[in-house]
């Protein structure tokens, strides 16, 4: 779009490059296909849990489309904005952060094209916490398995959560099954993800994540598994936490 190029500090050629990369992020049959397939299930989980947690009213048709109006949401490790954009469409005030400047540029270009207002920042959870930012909802979806200092990270997130707020963590379990599915299956056999995307040893068990959040004065409200059904080519919520799981934890 025209007005993105107007910013003086940004090279137009660079923007074109980001736009091409944005197309790649957002191509539902491209490199990030697994994330696109997984997106509806995790958004549905977040939506229903948030509506339930804040007892949001959803009687009216328009409100059903924008139930998150008035909520300030932080999306950590937002990548190309695959989760930030739906949150903004659902009516939330979204701040989205990523440690990769490239990702932030990509996400900005795409949000502009989608006509969405999202506050994308090239920063970290720790810096946001230091700046005193506060949020109703914090999303850590598929990020903690890539974080170096997990304890510092969860602590930073917890301090940014308003009292009564809720935090989501989605990640991979450290089990034989997750090794078979997420590493061998997804990276080597199905080639869903580039080899080396995940380091299995850094995966956390649900009990370990639960302990981390409890140490930061959060209480676990729900733990759900997400299971892939290859016959339907679809993800479902389940009780099976052995590969992908999501935790919702509230600040008292």
């Amino acid at each position: 779009m025209d007005n993105t190029v107007k910013a003086k500090s940004v090279d137009p050629a660079e923007i074109a490059n980001f736009a091409a990369m944005a197309d790649e992020w957002w191509d539902e049959n491209g490199k990030f296909k697994p994330l696109h397939k997984f997106n509806p299930i995790r958004i549905g989980y977040i939506r229903d849990t948030v509506i339930d947690h804040f007892r949001l009213q959803t009687d009216d048709a328009i409100v059903k489309l924008k139930p998150f109006q008035g909520l300030r949401i932080l999306d950590i490790g937002c990548g190309g904005g695959l989760l930030s954009e739906p949150m903004a469409r659902l009516g939330a005030d979204v701040v989205a952060a990523d440690a990769s400047e490239k990702n932030i540029q990509i996400a900005k270009v795409h949000a502009e094209k989608s006509g969405l207002q999202i506050d994308y920042r090239h920063t970290t959870a720790e810096d946001l916490a230091d700046a005193g930012e506060q949020f109703d909802v914090i999303l850590n979806m598929e990020v903690i398995e890539h974080v170096a200092d997990i304890e510092g990270f969860i602590e930073a997130c917890s301090t940014m959560l308003k009292p009564g707020g809720i935090m989501f963590i989605a990640t991979l379990n450290r089990t034989a099954k997750s090794f078979a599915f997420a590493i061998v299956g997804a990276e080597y056999v199905l080639r869903w993800l580039p080899k080396g995307t995940h380091n299995w040893k850094k995966f956390l068990k649900p009990s370990e994540v639960a302990r981390l959040v409890r140490n930061n004065n959060l209480s676990v409200r729900d733990i759900s598994g997400a299971t892939y059904n290859p016959f339907e080519n679809r993800w479902h919520l389940s009780m099976d936490l052995s590969v992908n799981y999501m935790i919702a934890a509230a600040k008292l």
Partner: protein
């Protein structure tokens, strides 16, 4: 409305019997919808424009009810009984709605009454705008959206465009989606008959040699006639002066409803069948006749289109409530997977029925006579056929079950 016409969620091209129900369904769920219709709305509700009567299957009525359309339908005749006979033979298949519960198989509604009801309902929805008469000059679809340039000079952008622009769908052609099909060399002659005696809600479908001859109950002592003939012969019949036409019609109709009188004009519709190779493209979904057309033998044309309406409305609204891009590939893929197989199967069944019943080879004739009588004695198989007539077979979208989106 002029000047403000810039950005909507969904653009529907074609404000007909599929386009409007879809627009109403998604707009009443809160999406901003614009419908472009070529014809003048007052023209569309004129009996001279479309004299056809539609059989609204039970499931389709559920959709109309769930969308708040049914209450606006002025006149609907319940179809309580369907009698299917094979030409001169005495065998017949008898569907009685009471075998499936209290609800009738469906209702016969004049298309103009349907259109009136659709316009009345549309007017109640603040997020729905109908622009008619209106034409577009160009439609551009890309990754980030759809832009339609109207002949009036206005432009509108949307996340998703829905083509409900009929069997020759210019939008389908522009998208390069091929449609395969064939013509039957048959025409349907359609007219309204006033008769002396009441029809008691009984629909008759007779498989005569040149094709099906259907008598469908309308309100009052009236029935809608759908009379299939080979094309050349149909043209001759269509051109007959009133007394001769009346004589030919009466010969086939019989005298079970007493004296007959043709009221209003006769219409002739060529019969053909087609199926689009895909129901979706970048930011585009095809519904109704734009996606498929069928032989009207089983009265399923509109009902099949309404299945598209219900399925697409459901995937679009579910995606919107997840904050997803409603014109994105995942949504359209879900729609296509849900609908296409279903319509291929129904098209094949009706095509097969037509070929079976217009065949005059003696063994086939005997086989189908025995077959009809046999189906009548096999409750399970008959139940399935009846469910099909009511449109309640297959994975049902919420609207067809009468539930809200």
């Amino acid at each position: 409305m002029t000047g403000k016409l810039n950005k909507v969620d969904v653009l529907v091209v074609g404000g007909g019997l599929n386009g409007l129900p879809f627009a109403i369904a998604v707009a009443s769920a809160g999406l901003d919808v614009l419908v472009l219709e070529r014809e003048e709305p007052t023209h569309l509700v004129d009996a001279e424009f479309d004299g056809r009567v539609s059989a609204i299957a039970h499931a389709s009525r559920n959709l109309f009810r769930a969308c708040g359309i049914w209450d606006h339908v002025k006149a609907a005749e319940p179809m309580l009984d369907i009698r299917i006979t094979d030409g001169p033979s005495n065998f017949f298949l008898h569907y009685d709605h009471r075998q499936l519960g209290d609800e009738p198989f469906g209702h016969m509604v004049e298309n103009r009454h349907l259109r009136q009801a659709l316009y009345a309902r549309a007017a109640e929805i603040p997020t729905l705008t109908i622009k008619a008469p209106a034409e577009y000059s160009e439609i551009v679809r890309d990754c980030s959206g759809v832009t339609a340039h109207l002949v009036s000079g206005e432009a509108v952008t949307a996340r998703l465009i829905v083509a409900a622009d009929g069997r020759n769908s210019p939008i389908r052609k522009q998208a390069g989606i091929k449609s395969v099909g064939w013509s039957y060399d048959q025409m349907g002659i359609v007219c309204t008959i006033a008769h002396e005696k009441p029809h008691h809600g009984v629909a008759q479908e007779r498989f005569l040699k040149p094709g099906p001859f259907a008598i469908l109950p309308m309100t009052g002592n009236r029935s809608s006639l759908v009379w299939t003939e080979q094309t050349e012969r149909a043209k001759v019949i269509m051109a007959l002066p009133e007394p001769e036409f009346h004589r030919e019609m009466t010969k086939r109709f019989g005298d079970y409803l007493g004296d007959l009188k043709v009221v209003g004009p006769r219409w002739g519709y060529p019969l053909n069948l087609h199926q689009a190779e895909r129901y979706a493209d970048l930011r585009l979904a095809l519904i109704g006749d734009a996606a498929h057309g069928m032989h009207p033998i089983a009265g399923q044309g509109l009902n099949l289109g309404l299945r598209d309406v219900a399925a697409l409305a459901e995937v679009v609204i579910d995606a919107a409530r997840l904050g997803q891009d409603i014109g994105g590939g995942t949504v359209l893929e879900d729609y296509q997977r849900w609908r296409r197989l279903d319509s291929v199967v129904l098209l094949a069944i009706t095509d097969g029925l037509n070929r079976l019943f217009t065949n005059n080879v003696v063994p086939i004739r005997i086989a189908r006579d025995v077959g009809l009588a046999a189906v009548n004695r096999m409750p399970k198989l008959k139940g399935l056929f009846m469910e099909h007539a009511r449109g309640t077979v297959g994975k049902m979208p919420r609207l067809l079950r009468g539930e809200a989106l």
